[in-house]
């Protein structure tokens, strides 16, 4: 149900960003960018908090009138940001978590690929397929 999914590296540059071509993608890009601030804020707040699934999942970063932005950070400070449409019947938190979990799993699969250099854009087809499956749900 996501309208936009982005993977941002530790240094805050995007490794992967994709949105449903419903409207101006730039808007989503901007939203993701602004959400990074919130993510950083939450990360710093965590401090030495136990790094478990809960902490990794940041939850709703900030809502707008149309969209909600959820965040997830991995242990390596790679951030996954997801923008969902508010018009969708509110997705349960668990669903968002599961989506992030799937994203995380796919991301780790990408990482496992020895041919993938961390820091490169993610061009894995499997990852694409997985993201597509998540986004298609929206439509």
């Amino acid at each position: 149900m996501a309208v936009c999914i982005a993977v941002i590296a530790k240094e805050n540059y995007p490794l992967y960003i994709r949105s449903t071509p419903m409207e101006n993608e730039l808007k989503f890009h901007y939203m993701v960018h602004t959400s990074l601030d919130v993510v950083d804020e939450k990360i710093s707040a965590m401090g030495k908090a136990l790094v478990d699934q809960r902490e990794l999942y940041l939850g709703l970063l900030y809502p707008t009138e149309d969209y909600k932005v959820y965040g997830f950070v991995t242990n390596s400070k790679v951030k996954l940001v997801m923008v969902v449409d508010s018009s969708n019947t509110a997705l349960r938190d668990n669903e968002i978590r599961s989506m992030f979990r799937k994203l995380h799993n796919s991301y780790t699969d990408v990482m496992c690929n020895p041919f993938y250099n961390p820091g490169d854009r993610i061009q894995s087809r499997a990852f694409d397929n997985m993201v597509t499956s998540m986004m298609i749900q929206v439509c």
């Binding site: 599961s98 690929n113 020895p114 041919f115 087809r125």
Partner: protein, 766 residues
């Protein structure tokens, strides 16, 4: 394809025209009026069948595995024919494509084939195209094949750049050439495509990649020239190929597989071990494929996503690299034959066998390895399974679905067993076997048997004494029935009836409050013997503590309908001698024993006996007496094991019984009564018992003139009985409290129901 063209080619053979017509008919061309691709393939196969001497049947195509390729006199350009052959990509109709097909029709067909292939090609798995290969049987000398045919393809197909299409075609040609000296015709080329590129893998694996490419080029050139020469060889190959018509284009031949294994060994000597990702990366980088493609190959081949390659995975990856280098597009999903076996390789090998087929079929166990047509589906299903397995491994939740593997955390804490009714099996607190036996006897004989009840109840607190007393009083009011019901544990269900149920619910032990008095009123565990001892302690320590609520009487104890009677004695506590005194005044006290005990014993006895009335009276008295006795005995009752106390109490009870009423001629013989008393004392379950016990006790006492005699004994007995009585008191008190609570609850319910009724009533009127 037009019939004439076919016939022309067919004429080339030695086959009879009749055969031809038969074939045409079989393949359906006659029906259709023209030769479609499938018909053509079938026709060719039939030609081969005919040439082989097999009966001309459609089934023979499928059954005859080693169907030699139909021999057509090559009247045209072999190359073209080969092209045509190569384009026969219909995997199912691996028509025995002879190498020769009349060029014009061949070309046309080639084009058609190519076009169709083009259409097909976009398909995920390139295996579809590969099938053209049937012709290409032997891959012995794969080395140059890929390149050869690739180039060949380019060369021949002109505008047609469909690699896969072209690929299959040429590739059989190099086979004839037996380039790298691979065993000629050994391996039937399963399929087509990727297998050939052995040169590739040989190349980048062993030699610098560049050199291999170079070698391949020349090879391809050679191939082209030798294409024609290949014809004869190819026919042989084709023959074998035909058998592999149903093969999976992605199958790895034995030779290839061996090569892969050798390569694996160079990196990882242990065949069962893994190749780490870095090593694999270096290795495959030598192939000079773009990183992106290598990355994709890795994704496909690393089945378990562990970042390392097992032998199977390595072979699959290698195979894919080879295929890619030969121009085949990488599939979107791992081909079935390349999938690492879920189970042992041996199984896979067995499964994948086809006559003359390549050994390795990596298809998962569930997939029919030999079915190339089903490959795409398998490819689809397997990855799904794989994903799902990944999900399982990762415990990922299904989105929005309730199915959440992770939710193990929600360990539903089961209802606290303690509160739940632990049905503590009515433990006989009776210390002595005799008691047990007696109780058993009594129990069987009498209704009230709660031999255990008193014991179980005992552990409760002294504070219960009052309640117990009160219950006793209640019991007194109640007749045997009440007592019996109070017996709880063992009493008959009928007797228990609502009382029991109430008790059970009250005690909270039994979940089914409504259930009929079933067996086990489970007195709370506290009523175990140990608890009884505790009770004793508490007795001493706390005088008059009444832990009323703890009565833990087995549910059996029904609320006595005669609270009036109870209060008096109930109030009594071991400490409250005053009250007792009053009571005692009523009865000829000297009943040192705990009236409760006495009551109980009496109850039991009474149960058996018909002297309910007397019992009642005596119960009352005993109830009164008991408190008194209790009070007096409280101090003394502390020590001793229950058993002793019980016995003593029983005797004492009997004494008081005798003393109190004295004269009530109790039917039950003293001994049995006594025993019963004892047992009762031990059990001390329900208030109901008390009344009966008292009665019994009275009877016993009356019947027994032992009082005077046993003065000495009586003291001990009395003390014991006192103790028991106290315990019983506490138990009963607890029970009483529970019952009262139950009563309150029920009353509340009743009130609510009445309210509802009233609410409804006006409507009913309407």
């Amino acid at each position: 394809m037009a019939e004439p063209a076919v016939l022309t080619s067919a004429d080339d053979q030695s086959t009879d025209m009749t055969f031809l017509f038969g074939i045409m008919e079989l393949c359906g061309a006659t029906r259709l009026g023209y030769f479609g691709r499938s018909q053509f393939y079938i026709a060719l196969k039939l030609v081969a069948v005919a040439q082989s001497g097999f009966p001309l049947r459609v089934e023979s195509i499928n059954t005859v595995k080693d169907l030699p390729l139909p021999r057509f006199v090559a009247s045209k350009n072999e190359q073209e024919s080969r092209h045509a052959a190569s384009y026969s990509s219909d995997s199912e109709n691996q028509g025995s494509y002879s190498g020769v097909i009349p060029p014009p029709p061949g070309r046309g067909q080639v084009k058609k084939g190519s076009i169709s292939h083009d259409a097909v090609q976009p398909r995920a798995s390139a295996d579809q195209q590969e099938p053209a290969s049937p012709i290409v049987s032997p891959q012995q000398s794969p080395p140059t094949s890929p390149h050869t045919w690739r180039k060949h393809n380019r060369h021949s197909s002109g505008g047609n750049n469909e690699r896969p299409l072209a690929g299959p075609g040429p590739f059989w040609s190099p086979f004839g050439e037996a380039q790298s000296g691979s065993s000629a015709g050994d391996t039937v080329w399963s399929g087509h495509s990727p297998p050939p590129p052995q040169e590739n893998w040989v190349s980048f694996a062993d030699t610098p990649p560049t050199s291999t490419l170079l070698t391949m080029h020349p090879a391809s050139v050679q191939d082209q020239t030798t294409v024609r020469t290949v014809a004869s060889a190819t026919t042989a190959n084709e023959i074998r190929r035909q058998s592999s018509s149903y093969d999976d284009p992605w199958k790895i031949t034995d030779e290839q597989r061996q090569y892969y294994i050798n390569q694996f060994k160079t990196i990882q000597p242990d065949l069962n071990g893994f190749i780490p990702g870095s090593a694999a990366k270096e290795f495959f980088t030598k192939s000079k494929l773009p990183i992106l493609e290598l990355s994709h190959i890795w994704e496909l081949s690393d089945f378990d996503k562990d970042g390392a390659l097992t032998l199977d995975e390595f072979c699959a990856a290698f195979h894919l690299v080879v295929a890619r280098k030969n121009g085949y597009d990488l599939p979107e999903k791992l081909p079935e034959s390349l999938m690492p076996k879920l189970i042992d390789l041996e199984d896979a090998a067995d499964v994948g066998d086809q006559p003359g087929e390549v050994g390795y079929s990596g298809s998962p166990a569930e997939a029919p390895p030999s079915k190339s047509p089903s490959m795409p589906s398998l490819n689809q299903t397997w990855p799904e399974l794989n994903q799902s397995s990944e999900q399982w491994e990762t415990f990922s939740e299904r989105s929005s679905s309730s199915q959440t593997l992770t939710q193990f955390d929600s360990n539903i804490a089961p209802a606290d067993p303690d509160t739940a009714i632990v049905h503590p099996v009515p433990i006989r607190m009776t210390p002595s076997k005799i008691h047990m036996q007696e109780m058993e006897l009594k129990r069987t004989s009498s209704d009230h048997t709660n031999p255990t009840s008193p014991l179980l109840v005992k552990p409760s607190d002294l504070s219960e004494e009052n309640k117990i007393n009160s219950t006793v009083k209640f019991a007194s009011g109640n007749t045997v029935d009440g007592y019996s019901s109070s017996d709880s544990f063992t009493s008959d269900p009928e007797q228990i009836g609502s009382n029991v149920t109430r008790q059970r619910s009250h005690s909270g032990t039994s979940p089914d409050n409504i259930a009929p008095p079933p067996p086990p009123p489970r007195p709370q565990p506290s009523h175990s013997r140990s608890s009884s001892l505790d009770m004793n302690r508490t007795f001493t320590v706390t005088t008059g503590q009444q832990q009323a609520g703890v009565v833990a009487h087995p549910p059996a104890v029904p609320p006595r309908p005669q609270p009036s009677q109870a209060p008096g004695p109930v109030a009594h506590r071991p400490v409250d001698a005053d009250g007792l005194m009053t009571h005692t005044s009523t009865s000829p006290q000297q009943i040192p024993e705990q009236p409760n005990f006495a009551d109980f014993s009496q109850f039991e006895v009474l149960a058996a006996s018909n002297v309910n009335e007397e019992q009642d009276d005596e119960a009352e008295k005993h109830a009164e007496v008991l408190p008194v006795e209790k009070a007096s005995d409280s101090a003394s009752s502390l020590r001793v094991a229950k058993a002793d106390s019980k016995t003593e109490e029983k005797t004492a009870a009997s004494v008081p019984a005798n003393v109190s009423k004295g004269t009530a001629p109790l039917a039950p013989p003293p001994k049995p009564v006594r025993r019963r008393l004892k047992s009762e004392d031990e059990l001390r379950p329900d208030v109901d018992e008390h009344t009966q016990k008292t009665g019994v006790l009275a009877a016993v006492l009356a019947s027994q003139p032992s009082i005077p005699r046993s003065v000495g004994k009586d003291k001990k007995a009395i003390q014991a009985s006192i103790r028991r009585n106290k315990e019983t008191n506490t138990v009963l008190a607890r029970l009483n409290s529970e019952l009262q609570q139950q009563l309150k609850d029920v009353l509340e319910e009743r009130i609510s129901l009445e309210v509802q009724l009233e609410q409804l009533r006006p409507f009913s009127h309407l």
